[in-house]
């Protein structure tokens, strides 16, 4: 059954890519949805099997690669983590596939789109299911490839192609980190299989020095990989540009699934991370600051998808923060809730863009509530979920992370503070987005009116997935109600207990952990929760105050008038891209040109040619007798012959 989960999307991709080109659009859409849908059903069955057995299941395919001592079987593992992930991937994937059929209706080459999308699902499943680092790496780079292809789906525009390339290259930087991590792992442990590695770590914790330096470097390298894929500082720059792709892609790849691969990978290797407290601190700080950093940029962006993109970066920062403070269960829980509500928000934004005929600038929207009632409703749910209004899923997951950060023994309150600020920013920009888009008067471009119709609600197969996602955005939160709340009704944190067996905590660390929990009273947890609810309400209220029924100029008016330089800096996204361009790309290009035109052509090639010229020069001197006259040549031949004859006689 597990193989069917993988086979269906691959089959769909192959069918769409090679057999069905230029057949009917309906057919390619149908094939794609059927492929992912069947994969979802299979995944459900796999998950139920696993759930019944409650034991990780290994599926050995074939020995993929063996060289020297290095062995990498093609082996899949279904456990708590990957079982959950395949459900998320295929489930949300199916919904987005259905939606995409409507969104891409006007495209010529939908088969290409669906082939990529199905391939992506396949690669993502490979990533989460692989039982060793190498199979995971195949999926890891495979999803990067699909992301590259999908960002550049509208390749006729130079900018899209460039954005795709940027995504691929920045990811590759991270991938090199991942690779080095694999090398280090193999060097120190001689294996890359997760099952073997975790048993190694089990052994190591009984040694006198349980945290060797090597583990620090291993975890750091893998974290670089996670930074690339999960868009953390300083490698986040590709994700906002990746919004050049079609919106369903942004929803599936750049919000719900692929970008969370970094979090998934760190959770998969949590046994390593628990053994490397130094790395954990780095991870936590990078996550926290990414959350805040991206959130501040999102405050002023005007492109609806850019806001959501930075929001994604910010939310990923939360997840990384969770990993960094050792709350892998909270991180994965946020991954789950985020997958639901961010997919919902992106698809909602997609519906808006679709209705507005590919207008993405929020300054030209407004008042869409009347035209898009369903979209408005689901977007509202999505926004409430992401900003953490009590009762919605984001509330449970984000507060769990903040709480775990607060009680983190080293710099916990600082981490909490940064995350807390970011939560306020999140509330502000998400409400701003909602206000600018759905409320107030319409600011549509008057020139666009004569050939555009009024915005209208999307067809059913586009809003139906939204409704399902909206339901999930509320519902999944109740899977992970924190213990102290769950105790009120006599339950416990279902999600944490589900993941318990997986997130292996070395004995020494575990004792410290339980100690921590005991130290803090529930009152503190209640206090923090109420503080953040109040803070979020304040920020959201400010946004409503600023943007509902205010003229568009008010945006710039509010921030820009008082802090013009800060506003400009935020609008320019802290000029990070320009800085990279100026400090890294341009010098490299100059070096390249120098090496080619001067060093290679002039110096190296020059040396070689110089030897040639030298030889030609000397041979010119030596060849003064080479007159080309046959008579002279003949004479000398003859004279020589006679000379030898005469000489030999005497």
């Amino acid at each position: 059954m597990i193989w069917m989960v993988l086979a269906f999307p691959l089959l769909g991709a192959l069918l769409n890519g090679f057999l069905l080109p230029r057949r009917s659009k309906f057919l390619s859409h149908g094939v794609a949805v059927a492929a992912v849908g069947s994969a979802f059903l299979c995944a459900c069955s796999v998950f139920l099997d696993f759930f019944a057995a409650r034991r990780p299941q290994l599926h050995f395919g074939f020995e993929w690669l063996r060289a020297g001592k290095f062995v990498a079987p093609f082996e899949l593992a279904v456990d708590q983590l990957s079982g959950l992930m395949i459900l998320i991937i295929t489930g949300i994937g199916t919904l987005i596939h259905i939606y995409a059929g409507g969104y891409m209706k006007e495209e010529e080459t939908t088969y290409r789109f669906f082939a990529y999308l199905n391939l992506f699902i396949f690669m993502m499943l490979l990533l989460v299911l692989g039982n060793n680092l190498l199979v995971m790496f195949v999926g890891w780079e495979g999803v990067g490839l699909c992301s590259y292809l999908l960002i550049g789906y509208w390749f006729q525009e130079e900018a899209n192609a460039k954005a795709g390339m940027k995504a691929f290259l920045v990811n590759r930087i991270g991938d090199i980190g991942f690779l080095i991590g694999i090398f280090l792992t193999f060097r120190h442990f001689g294996t890359v299989s997760f099952t073997e590695l975790s048993s190694w770590i089990n052994l190591m914790t009984t040694l006198p020095d349980p945290y060797p330096k090597a583990i620090f470097w291993i975890t750091l390298s893998f974290f670089i990989g996670a930074c690339g894929k999960s868009a953390q500082l300083p490698l986040y720059v590709w994700l906002p540009d990746a919004m050049a792709g079609p919106t369903p892609v942004s929803a599936l790849i750049h919000a719900a699934t692929m970008v969370t691969a970094g979090i998934f990978m760190m959770t998969r290797m949590s046994f390593f991370y628990y053994a490397a407290p130094d790395t954990m601190l780095i991870v936590a700080f990078v996550g926290a600051f990414t959350a805040l950093f991206a959130a501040t940029i999102a405050l002023v962006q005007t492109d609806i998808k850019k806001v959501l993109a930075y929001s994604t970066v910010s939310q990923l920062g939360y997840m990384v923060l969770a990993c960094g403070v050792g709350a892998f269960d909270a991180g994965v829980f946020h991954l789950l809730t985020h997958a639901c509500f961010k997919a919902l928000l992106f698809l909602g934004a997609g519906s808006v863009i679709f209705a507005m005929h590919h207008e993405q600038d929020m300054r030209r929207m407004g008042g869409l509530r009347k035209h898009l009632p369903i979209t408005h409703a689901v977007m509202l749910i999505g926004v409430l979920a992401i900003i953490g209004v009590p009762g919605f899923s984001g509330f449970f997951s984000k507060d769990e992370i903040l709480w775990k950060a607060f009680i983190f023994p080293t710099y916990g309150p600082i981490l909490w503070g940064v995350g807390f600020l970011a939560a306020g920013c999140t509330a502000f920009y998400m409400v701003r987005l909602l206000c600018l888009t759905f409320y107030g008067p319409s600011y549509q471009d008057p020139h666009a009116h004569h050939h555009h119709h009024e915005p209208h609600e999307t067809p059913w197969y586009m809003w139906a997935p939204l409704v399902i996602l909206a339901f999930l955005s509320v519902a999944v939160g109740y899977l992970g109600v924190p213990d102290f709340l769950a105790h009120l009704v006599g339950g416990r944190n279902l999600f944490a207990s589900y993941l318990e067996g997986l997130v292996y905590i070395p004995t020494s660390a575990r004792s410290a952990w339980t100690h921590l929990h005991a130290e803090h009273a529930h009152s503190l947890e209640w206090g923090l929760m109420l503080t953040s609810v109040a803070w979020v309400t304040l920020a959201a209220g400010t946004a409503v105050f600023c943007y509902v029924n205010r003229p568009v100029r008010g945006i710039a008016g509010f921030l820009g008038a008082h802090f013009p330089r800060v506003h400009q800096l935020l609008l320019d996204k802290y000029r990070v891209d320009e800085c990279y361009q100026q400090k890294i790309v341009t010098p490299l290009a100059e070096i390249s040109t120098f090496l080619w035109q001067l060093f290679d052509v002039r110096i190296l090639n020059g040396c070689v040619n110089w030897v040639g010229y030298l030889l030609m020069g000397t041979s010119g001197i030596a060849s003064f007798r080479m007159t080309g006259s046959l008579h002279r040549y003949g004479f000398w031949v003859l004279a020589g012959t006679v000379g030898i004859l005469v000489f030999s006689c005497f």
Binding site: H631, F635, L638, A639, V642, L645, V646, C649
Partner: protein, 171 residues
């Protein structure tokens, strides 16, 4: 002794005609004198008891090769002044006499006890028969190869001499 006398006679004819070949300005005349040289040599072969060689000398050389030369001379239709120039003869004449002297010295030295004694009457009377036997038994393979060589030469000369038909390749 009469053979020796004939030998000298034909030797003189051959050398004289050869000098004519290289010195005459008119190529047709040179070709005719070449025929004379070749025939004189054929006579020498007879005197040396090699009738078969004499025959092919006349047939192939005088009959075929020189005709070929004559054809080409006529085909190209060269004027006398164009073909007759020498290279500056005086220098070469000096060299030539020197070389001849050297050669004669050489032969003198060689002939003192180095040459094998003449084998007396080991050769039968039927020269053509013996050469034929040698050609078709011991020298069969070289003989066949020689015929192949001629074939190749014929093809090659046709290829070389025919007018170029392919256009030059554009770079």
């Amino acid at each position: 002794m009469i053979e020796l006398g004939f030998f000298y006679l034909f030797a003189v004819i051959a050398l004289g005609a050869a000098l004519g070949v290289i010195l005459l300005k008119n190529p047709v005349a040179a070709a005719m004198l070449l025929v004379v040289t070749l025939c004189a040599l054929a006579a020498e072969y007879v005197l040396l008891g090699a009738e078969f060689s004499a025959a092919i000398q006349v047939l192939v050389y005088a009959g075929a090769i020189v005709i070929l030369f004559t054809f080409v001379i006529m085909l190209l239709n060269l004027g006398q002044e164009e073909v007759g120039q020498l290279m500056g003869v005086s220098k070469w004449a000096l060299l030539f006499s020197l070389l001849t002297g050297a050669a004669i010295i050489l032969i003198q030295r060689l002939s003192v006890g180095r040459l094998p004694e003449a084998a007396l009457s080991t050769l039968g009377s039927d020269n053509v028969y013996e050469v034929g036997m040698a050609l078709f038994t011991r020298y069969l393979w070289p003989f066949e190869l020689a015929s192949l060589l001629i074939l190749l030469a014929v093809i090659a000369s046709i290829v070389i001499a025919k007018k170029p038909t392919l256009p030059a390749r554009d770079a």
